[in-house]
Amino acid sequence: MNAYLDGLRGLQPEIVMTITALAALVFDLVLKGRESRRVGYLTLAGLAFTAWFLLGQWGDSAPRTVFGMVAVDQFGNFFKLFTVAALAMVVLFVMHDQREREHGVGEYYFLLLGAAIGVFFMVSTNNLLLMVLGFELLSLASYSLAGFHKGDRKSAEAAMKYVIFGGLATGIMLYGMSLLYGLTGTIDLAKMGVEGGGLVTQLAKSPVPVGIAMVLILAGFAYKVSVAPFHFWTPDVYEGAPTPVTTFLAVASKAAGFGVMLRFLGAIFLRPGVADNVAAYGERIGLLLAILAAITMTLGNFAALRQTSLKRMLAYSSIAHAGYVLIGVACMTEQGFGAALYYLAAYYFMNLGAFGFLLYFEGVNGNDSVESLKGMGFKAPLISCVMIAFLVSLTGLPPTVGFYGKYLLFVEGVNQGLYWLVVVAALNSVVSLFYYLRVAKALFLAKPAEREAAPAPVLTGFVTALGVATVVLGLYVPPLVAWAQRSLDVLRG
């Protein structure tokens, strides 16, 4: 009984999230769709509680496993805090989205929270089964969120594409996992690669079946983080989905996908006591990921060059950024994973900010084309100047958080001898500058627009806060680096 209570204590954040989700659903029913903003406040309060519990777990650092399934460790904590922070921003976006007024938004919060609970479980388990469950929960909630604007054809199309691609990808992943289970005889990732584990004997026999399983599983993850060639859904879904949902997909869902990928690879290949042949095999997977990284960032950046819609441009840019993060993963070292985590944290600030800017101007212009931003920089100077900071950071120029992220990735890439990849990434950031600058050009290099931009002080305030963080954390880097480093406790056993 005591052990049971102890286990529940480890699950406090998940429990609070679940209660919040249910409360949001009931509260919305009681309100009958009126004043749905109150549901938003309830959600924010729930998220604050969750964050409080998560910060509490932050203190007790010894990793442990609850009920043999849910791992409570710093690594999961990183992604949970990340998700809570991202979700809080998304909820604020929903509450300040001009266009959401017309839709019933009560269910919005429930679905967002549901997706987040999925993230919570998928990033904090070494158990393949629970991993899939969390993955599916996130996916199902995301599908409905993408199609939230029922009357909107684009939104419906986005949801449909997302479901079909997603269903296929999850199916492939699940097949890979079943192969892995068949090969190793266990669904516990931690037990596969160590001496005496199933993977060791399998690899000694033949690496081919393991290779097939790994490729299939990684395909599922790659789909979630939109790594080429599994990225085709991204631009359409991002464009069709309501902007707050796009934000959620681009930031929280992508980070969660990386969380699961890092957890999976870390638990098998980077664990202390891993067998030699398994570690060597991990390096070959690293090379595969390096190639995917190069393809992904190049493709994302070049496709973004031609976009006329800011939303689509950000979608392709998010593909490119998945490629950058993948550099860190491909290194298959603790430092590489740390750099990937740092980059994700950096990505939180700059991409959320960019989407906040997009949301604001969707409200002002009624569309998301870059063209319609022309000369608006002079009409809404604060948010536009802050946007410049995000663009600079996304390009990876100092003194911003994005630059330091790129620096760390380059360091580990060079350290692992992936010189070609680092050169590709560096040249890619030159390409990306071109389309990021198109936004800056539209905002400031055109004549001041005739129209006025209706102020949105709260939204502008939050976006500005993100902008300040983007610059300040770029100049004062220790906190984020320390956080990213500490979150890798699972790799140290």
Binding site: A426, F444, A482
Partner: protein
């Protein structure tokens, strides 16, 4: 205060920028006043630093400094840990190579602010960006930490982009983005080299890296398979990655194509800063953060550098000869003049190297003056077609006098500054004692002739000949324009007669640099 003087010089403009952002945009006079103050104070400080604070070192001082761990014997050093986890420091200092350029930066930015007063469109954002630009430029010249160097290097790009892009001419968008993309393409390669250097040596400190490289220990031994990559040595890779980054900034042929576009579209004060200071960052960067880190590769490719320099000299001058746009002509003359810098450095003699550093400073004053001269005419005529003027000497005699002085300084008339530095680089290259270099010297004489040709021809077309009645009503050069040009032309004359005022400052550091680089030869 004295210990932190470099930080003050660097960051007072930032302070000024913060103040400007707080002033409402309607009080333009207050904004102008603040920018003037925020550039004037650093200029005073830098002038004091140059003539008062800076110590002329002896060989003994260098030996001492080397023992103390600073092979460059920098002065006014300030060292504060910045990002501990990767060993980045806020590490600034000046030596004989950088001090003159720091001084020049502060002078040109101050002049740039005054020159901007004539621009009607220039408002709050303009002055804020101008000051931000200054922070970046001064920062690069004083940085002794490679990471810090890179951060300052990149900070310059954004303000420059907007300054050209918002306040520029008709094709400003194209020019601004071209400038940004070219420079960034160079600097991302630099970043990779910086990362590799750091991982191999374990330090970002420029003096430390210089020392390690001089001992021949910077060979990529601590990096996987970096001893030899694709048939090239580690130091060769480092050399080219850094060199291309700096060469784009100089700009060296064939990386120069952004420069004429940027110059033609940029407003006059920005052209002044671009030609006067930004181009020097490239040359300075090579001396500070490229050659010393890969001395082997430098010696191996010194002749290639010299060839690139000579191509720039001759090609730049030749293309300038064909221009009908006054400003474009001056822009190409910059390409030509910066070629001497490369030729001098490639020659690797005391005279050549000193000539190169001197040429950077002298080109800073003379080209800035030329762009101001173009600006004066453009403000009145609103075009820059060399063929459309004529007989301006009768309309604006005082302006003509100043122009003549500026042109002669640029074409290297003895007695003016350009002559000394060009002569030094050419003699230095001749002294290299090698038939190949002598050939180059003879070829580059062609550039000297072309330079004289295009400047004199331009002079003839604009100022001499039949008076063009259309422009008869032009007012004479006004006080503000005079204030901008006078100090620059004064410096051209001063350093033409007394180059020792620059050379004595540079000489010990150049000597030291040569011995560092030569130690491996």
């Amino acid at each position: 205060m004295q210990d932190q003087i470099l930080s003050w010089i660097t960051f007072i403009p930032l302070l000024g920028m913060a103040v400007i952002l707080l002033i409402p945009k309607t009080s333009l006079n207050a904004i102008k006043g603040v920018s003037l103050a925020a550039t004037f104070v650093p200029m005073v400080m830098a002038t004091w630093l140059y003539f008062g604070g800076f110590r002329h070192l002896t060989q003994g001082d260098f030996d001492q400094a080397r023992v103390a761990g600073d092979i460059l014997a920098s002065q006014f050093v300030q060292r504060i840990p910045w990002i501990d986890s990767i060993g980045v420091e806020y590490y600034v200092g000046v030596d004989g190579l950088s001090i003159a350029l720091v001084w020049l930066t502060t002078i040109l930015l101050f002049i740039g602010v005054i020159a901007s007063f004539g621009m009607e469109k220039a408002g709050k954002a303009y002055y804020a960006l101008l000051l931000m630009l200054q922070v970046g430029i001064s920062g690069v010249f004083v940085s002794l930490d490679l990471f810090l160097f890179y951060v300052f290097w990149e900070i310059m790009l954004l303000p420059m982009y907007f300054l050209i892009g918002i306040w520029g001419g008709p094709r400003r968008e194209y020019a601004a983005i071209k400038f940004f993309l070219y420079t960034l393409a160079g600097s991302v390669l630099m970043l990779i080299a910086i990362v590799a250097l750091r991982l191999d040596s374990g330090t970002f400190s420029i003096p430390k890296l210089t020392e390690i490289a001089a001992q021949g220990k910077l060979l990529g031994a601590n990096l996987p398979a970096a001893g030899e990559l694709l048939g090239m040595k580690f130091s060769t890779w480092v050399f080219w990655f850094l060199f291309v980054g700096f060469a784009i900034k100089v700009p060296v042929f064939p990386f120069h194509t952004w420069l004429p576009d940027a110059h033609v579209e940029a407003p006059t004060p920005i052209s002044v800063i671009l030609a006067g200071i930004l181009l020097k960052l490239g040359g300075y960067g090579m001396l500070r953060a490229c050659f010393p880190f890969a001395p082997d590769a430098f010696h191996e490719f010194a002749y290639v550098l010299a060839i690139l320099g000579v191509i720039s000299i001759v090609y730049g001058a030749f293309v300038a000869l064909g221009q009908t746009d006054f400003k474009k002509m001056v822009a190409y003359s910059s390409v030509s003049h910066m070629g001497y810098v490369l030729l001098g450095m490639g020659a690797f003699t005391v005279w050549g190297m000193e000539g190169a550093v001197l040429q950077m400073f002298n080109h800073g004053t003379s080209s800035a003056a030329l762009f101001l001269i173009v600006g004066v005419l453009y403000d009145r005529a609103h075009h820059r077609d060399l063929n459309a003027f004529g007989g301006m000497s009768q309309i604006m005699p005082r302006y003509w006098a100043l122009t003549t002085l500026g042109f002669f300084a640029a074409l290297g008339l003895p007695g003016l500054a350009g002559f000394v530095s060009e002569a030094l680089t050419l003699i230095g290259a001749y002294q290299a004692g090698d038939a190949r270099f002598r050939t180059l010297v003879f070829i580059s004489l062609l550039g000297v002739v072309f330079t004289a040709a295009f400047l004199l021809w331009a002079m003839q077309r604009v100022f001499l000949g039949q008076k063009n009645e259309k422009y008869a009503g032009f007012e004479e050069i006004n006080f503000r324009e005079l204030v901008c040009q006078a100090p620059l032309l004064f410096l051209c004359i001063l350093f033409g007669i007394l180059p020792a005022f620059l050379l004595d400052w540079m000489h010990p550091s150049v000597q030291n640099l040569l011995s560092i680089l030569g130690a491996k030869a």
